[in-house]
């Protein structure tokens, strides 16, 4: 072959490679864009009196990906103000689903609820393709499938970049792994001039102070290989509430433990909100086998059913901190645990602080939720007036 022909062949091969690369990039780019741009409709329930944005408490967040919706459910009567955080870690879907269930169903009759469905919204716009995470998951309802973005633990690097070599938590000075600066449950109480999650935590702290929030509830899920699971983690100011809730629920509905927030572990809701405001804080953990490292196929079915033979085998080998059987840990049970624990916290709160009550109607019981499924409590966005639908 002549030199000129060889050159042409090489150019053709390179061009073909470039076209193939571009095709893959376009395909992936479209998929990433669809995921990032997907809007989850939320029907405003009978208790919702306003939908506000986080920037209303900290203006610099306006226009950022983390300028999330804050749903206000105000009874109009005196009482406690309680903030519920869903989606702190968007790879834990029972958290945003439980928060959404509150928005669509709760109706306070005394006191006020504030609810964030996607506390770290940026983290809900990115997932982990390298770990085979699905991009979306759907919840079955009577009117069809409701589709959600599957997220990650940390904010999207598109919104918060670059990470520092070492993340030094403010104000404690505790050194943490670099990517934890994008994990909003390591950036409390935040700072106004920090990176995105630090500014988001700061915005929430401003809201907590200005709205005189009494209690913050932060929903989470955990792998069964992790010892802090099936439990309530309580700031010292809330440990009596947590102990009473744990004892009552464990005796009457399901086993749930209690841990006291370590004083020297910084950046977490249950530590810093209690230390840096008048509010106190509780964090709930439900079991999510999808997060276990020993899991098998990583797909939507595992995310929603929590059934995995490999995790079960790990359990039989005594390698887990939480039980699992062939029934797994379905999403309705995990959401049900969060909602039932929230309801019980309200009861106990009223016992201990009757001068500042919180009373909420409309929440399903644990048994009902587990039997009917989460979708039974989500209304059809097409069936209500447009001004009663918000988007996440």
């Amino acid at each position: 072959m002549k030199k000129s022909e060889q050159g042409k062949t090489l150019i053709a091969a390179k061009a073909a490679g470039l076209v193939a690369w571009a095709a893959v990039m376009v395909f992936a780019g479209v998929a990433f864009r669809q995921h990032r741009a997907w809007k989850e409709p939320v029907v405003l329930g009978p208790g919702v009196t306003a939908v506000r944005s986080l920037h209303e408490w900290f203006a610099p967040l306006k226009g950022t990906e983390n300028d999330c919706n804050v749903y206000v459910l105000d009874s109009g009567l005196p009482g406690s103000t309680i903030l519920v955080l869903g989606g702190t870690h968007p790879e834990e879907p029972a958290t945003n689903l439980a928060a959404e269930l509150l928005v669509e169903n709760a109706k306070p009759t005394s006191g006020k609820l504030l609810v964030a469905i996607h506390t770290n919204r940026s983290a809900s716009t990115v997932t982990r393709p390298g770990e085979a995470y699905p991009q979306f998951y759907s919840i079955k309802t009577a009117w069809g499938q409701k589709k959600y973005r599957m997220g990650d633990r940390s904010a999207n690097p598109l919104d918060s970049w670059p990470d520092p070599e070492t993340y030094v938590h403010y104000p404690s000075g505790q050194m943490l792994a670099y990517m934890d600066i994008r994990n909003i449950n390591r950036t409390w109480p935040g700072r106004p001039n920090g990176l995105l999650c630090e500014r988001t935590s700061y915005g929430f702290m401003q809201m907590i102070r200005k709205e005189k929030v009494d209690l913050v509830i932060d929903y989470h899920e955990a792998e069964l290989e992790y010892p802090v699971i099936g439990t309530i983690v309580a700031h010292q100011k809330a440990q009596e509430v947590a102990a009473m809730v744990s004892m009552d629920l464990s005796a009457s509905q399901f086993r749930i433990g209690m841990e006291v927030s370590p004083r020297t572990l910084h950046g977490l809701t249950h530590r810093e909100i209690g230390d840096f405001s008048d509010a106190t804080a509780l964090l709930f953990e439900s079991p999510e086998p999808f997060l276990d490292r020993v899991r098998g196929a990583t797909n939507e079915a595992l995310l929603l059913t929590g059934v995995d033979e490999f995790v079960q085998r790990a359990g039989k080998a005594g390698l887990l901190y939480w039980p699992i059987d062939e029934k797994g840990w379905p999403i309705e049970v995990r959401v049900g645990r969060h909602i039932a624990t929230t309801s019980k916290v309200f009861e106990v709160w009223n016992l201990l602080y009757p001068e500042k009550p919180i009373a909420v109607d409309g929440l399903p019981g644990y048994g009902d939720l587990a039997a009917k499924g989460v979708g039974a409590y989500f209304a059809d966005p097409a069936s209500v007036a447009k001004d009663r639908v918000a988007f996440e």
Binding site: E240, G257, E259, P262, E355
Partner: protein, 208 residues
């Protein structure tokens, strides 16, 4: 009773929903405790127990918080001190020491202590208590979830044989360790199925 005090507070706050919730909760609390306590037979040879009570955990587990809440519920004077020492024991006329077994690595990290420190602290505390006529209850109240690793095991095995009375969650005794130790050391033992059982048990074993 604390429940009555809570109800009083609800009434004083003039809040009917709070009163209703208080009544419902107290009833549920009592029913659960009563149902559970039917299983909790009291052994012979119980030590004479009185308050005030000092509660501490060998391993910084949160089990002491449960016991403290129960003590309030049944109106027993009790102090929970995470790092109680012999000086703490001498600071008040305590009549009973409750040592909670099982560990929390986060709790120990937070307190800046190692398990060996905790075992040393609690062993000295128990020794001092016995020398002072203070009765010692060693309690494992969190069940299987607080018997999962070597740290839990060391906490349990160092404290359990030193007790005047053992209170043990049934789920922690699957290998029979507590039963065997109680028999060998002739320590009376009460089993519980849930922490709420203590609401019924404490008034029976503590004299006012």
């Amino acid at each position: 009773m604390r429940s009555i005090r809570i109800l009083d507070r609800a009434a004083r706050a003039g809040n009917p929903p709070a009163i209703a919730v208080a009544l419902a909760f107290i009833a549920a609390f009592a029913l659960c405790a009563a149902a559970g306590a039917q299983q909790n037979a009291l052994p012979k040879g119980l030590p004479e127990l009185k308050g005030p009570i000092l509660i501490t955990a060998c391993g910084q587990s949160p089990g002491g918080v449960y016991v403290k809440v129960v003590c309030r519920q049944v109106k027993l004077e009790a102090d929970l001190e995470e790092t109680a020492t012999v000086q703490t024991l001498g600071a008040r006329a305590y009549k009973t020491l409750i040592v909670i077994t099982g560990t929390s690595l986060k709790g120990m990290g937070s307190a800046g202590v190692e398990l060996s420190d905790e075992i040393k602290r609690c062993t000295e505390l128990v020794k001092k208590a016995k020398a002072s006529g203070v009765k010692v209850i060693v309690a494992q109240v969190e069940g299987a979830s607080r018997r999962v690793d070597e740290s839990d095991e060391q906490s349990i095995r160092s404290m359990t044989p030193l007790a005047d009375l053992l209170i043990t969650h049934n789920q922690a005794n699957k290998d029979g360790y507590f039963t065997k130790t109680a028999a060998e050391k002739k320590i009376p033992q009460i089993f519980i199925d849930q922490q709420l059982d203590l609401v019924k048990i404490f008034p029976q074993i503590f004299s006012k």
